[in-house]
């Protein structure tokens, strides 16, 4: 059985990975166009407040090494379920920005129901720009069955 309190003590809030992201115009424009968002702030580079679409940051840093520390204990077999994703927008992200994504596990908790105990892991990446301003937080919730 997984020791959830030990997992929390060992891993919650610990930064375990960093990744850099250069914000370029072409993918920023393609993102807005693909989603059909015609708001000129995100679709027109000549707009005075032109910026990356606020949801664009949710596509950055979705790698295995950004999700889980290498040393994180094996939780056993069984399928993980995507529990959802949130994007918190704290400041505009501009073309030309150099972002630093800093990964941590924001929370670990369990819920027990008829089908047994489900472990919830909240993977978080905080994004900072080249001025070290915190511009966004992206949380991805993973749900995994860990026993009855």
């Amino acid at each position: 059985m997984v020791d959830i309190e030990q997992l929390r003590r060992d891993w919650v809030g610990v930064e375990f990975h960093r990744a850099d992201f250069a914000i370029e115009q072409e993918p920023v424009l393609a993102y807005a166009a693909s989603c059909g968002d015609e708001d000129p702030r995100y679709a027109d580079p000549s707009h005075p407040d032109f910026a990356a679409h606020p949801m664009y940051v949710g596509c950055l840093g979705n790698t295995r090494e950004a999700m889980m520390p290498k040393e994180f204990p094996d939780l056993g077999p069984g399928r993980s379920i995507d529990g959802g994703k949130s994007v918190e927008v704290l400041a505009p992200i501009r073309v030309g920005d150099a972002l630093s994504g800093r990964a941590q596990i924001a929370d670990i908790y369990a819920k027990t129901g008829r089908s047994g105990t489900m472990l919830f892991i909240v993977h978080r990446m905080n994004f900072y720009n080249q001025r070290d301003e915190h511009v966004a937080t992206v949380d991805l919730r993973q749900i995994k069955a860990v026993g009855s």
């Binding site: 993918p27 166009a33 693909s34 708001d39 596509c59 994007v87």
Partner: protein
Amino acid sequence: MRFADVELGDDLPETHPDISMEKVRLFVKAAGMNFPRFTDHEFARNEGLPGAIVPGVMSQGFLAAMIHQWAPGAKIHKLDTVFRSTMVVDTSATCRGAVTDLDDEQHLVEIDLTMLGADGVTAVIGTATVELSD
């Protein structure tokens, strides 16, 4: 749309986002998610899926676009989604939203969001916190 124009329970005009292969290919290239389960129907069927599927995270862009269309100039502070079922590329989809709370001091609006697939099944649920102008 200004904050003063919004009332609790208001529905946002629904949108019908384009989930064609052309748009999904554009999205996955922009997002760095160029996996064949999103862009190749045959590959996806061989994986047991009903066809190439729309990336779950793309729904966040569609829902944000609906909000921006409803309230040009709105600032999305937070958008939280749960992906409940898949949507097949080259079918149809519908985005809906309803105002569930208002913060008079900060001019923030809470919106419940849903995205339905072609079969009418709810594919995505979510909430957004949005700042509107005076």
